[in-house]
Subunit: 240 residues, 2 copies
């Protein structure tokens, strides 16, 4: 059976303008590989209502899971929660359980739970809260969509809460063979071996070091014995 | 007149598996901002023929420009050039001008221009070559699609070749105001100011340092006087 699939949607003008370098994509990609969930696509879009709704509906229909990052803070440009509700046709308002979490947090810190902060308690009907051990304001899961913060430390904590609740598959195993030959030198035998192992993904990544060309060949698959067999075949063929 | 738009398509299993961290997106985003081209969307997809063709046709129709990165090397998984040709319904084969570039390069380095390396001279009919001063194998532009290598040093060199040929707009100016108050504290005045300057994008990015909360407020726009006015209004309102 093929592994379950996931897509990711990174929401935020600051990413597209080049001001901020996204790091959540690379983090999630690594964790999904370990969990046996295949990341099929990532999209990065701006804080624009129609763009968010369209992308959410497209990606959640095509994948077993959709993860979003960004746009759930207290300010005017944090519109992700409302857009998710609109994508599902769900009602959204301040919810008592989320408000109670925030109230306790701001009481402890001696700050006011003002109108802006209360926006972070807006949760669509039918959603399950995602725990935020870093800064309290929760994410949420609605259907197969997991809505998380953009701040990397919070995003990572939320991923840790959500992943154990999902159905994973066989983790993606990978082995790397490093050869000191240019990619163009080994492309022909590599192509033959890739054709002989259709269930594996065999990629080649050229590098240059001190004027010498080399290639890292990465074999990925869910069956350890098959990955081993391909590695043996590779080192036989490429040492010729 | 609004600025011209662009999308980016990052192609490669190694990005989605978490093995490689993409850096081309952040680089291109910064260069486009300087050039006055608005980056509307980025997609990251796997080396899969149908996924590439569908994404190329969707994004090139919606944007003035589409930049792709990855999948134009000599190996079996480098299928981008053929997919671009298929997306346009164009014929593709080894082209004399690209072959001559490669032949000269491999003659100089005493290596053989073998069948695998010759794949890098496969260029769709009607395309214009993009210069590669790093490792010779060219990218190409076909219609509004600019096809570039995934290796960051080569990608950056190709961006430098392509950008001057494109119609830019007014560069995106940005100014940042750093306030030592939490995002939730300033969200209400911030929202009012954002509503008063509909032609500007005003974003807020919280940070925490040594247990103190602060926010960077970033004002972006193409009109310097308007950005200045918003900055003055912000520092007036937020110093209250």
């Amino acid at each position: 059976m093929p592994n379950p699939t996931a897509a990711m949607l990174v929401i935020g003008d600051e990413i597209l303008s080049g001001r901020t370098r996204d790091s959540n994509m690379h983090y999630l990609a690594g964790r999904l590989s370990e969990t046996g969930i295949t990341l099929t696509e990532v999209r990065m879009i701006s804080d624009t209502r129609d763009a968010i709704i369209d992308a959410v509906n497209d990606l959640r229909a095509k994948n077993d899971n959709l993860f979003t990052s960004g746009g759930i803070g207290p300010t005017h440009d944090d519109i992700t929660a409302d857009c998710i509700a609109a994508a599902f046709g769900a009602r959204i308002d301040v919810r008592d359980d989320a408000r109670a979490l925030l109230q306790a947090h701001y009481d402890r810190s001696g700050q006011e739970l003002n109108e802006a902060r209360l926006r972070m308690a807006r949760i669509p009907d039918g959603a399950t809260l995602i725990d935020n051990p870093v800064s309290t304001a929760p994410g949420f899961s609605l259907g197969n969509v997991h809505v998380m913060a953009g701040v990397p430390s919070v995003f990572q904590a939320m991923v840790a809460s959500v992943l154990p609740t999902l159905t994973g598959g066989a983790p993606l195993l990978s082995q790397t063979l490093r050869v000191m030959r240019g990619e163009g030198d080994i492309a022909a035998p590599l192509g033959k071996i890739a054709a002989a192992f259709p269930d594996l993904s065999i990629g080649s990544y050229p590098f240059q070091k001190d004027g010498v060309y080399g290639t890292n060949i990465v074999v990925r698959g869910t069956e350890g014995a098959l990955v081993d067999a391909a590695m043996i075949r590779l080192s036989d063929e490429l040492s010729k």
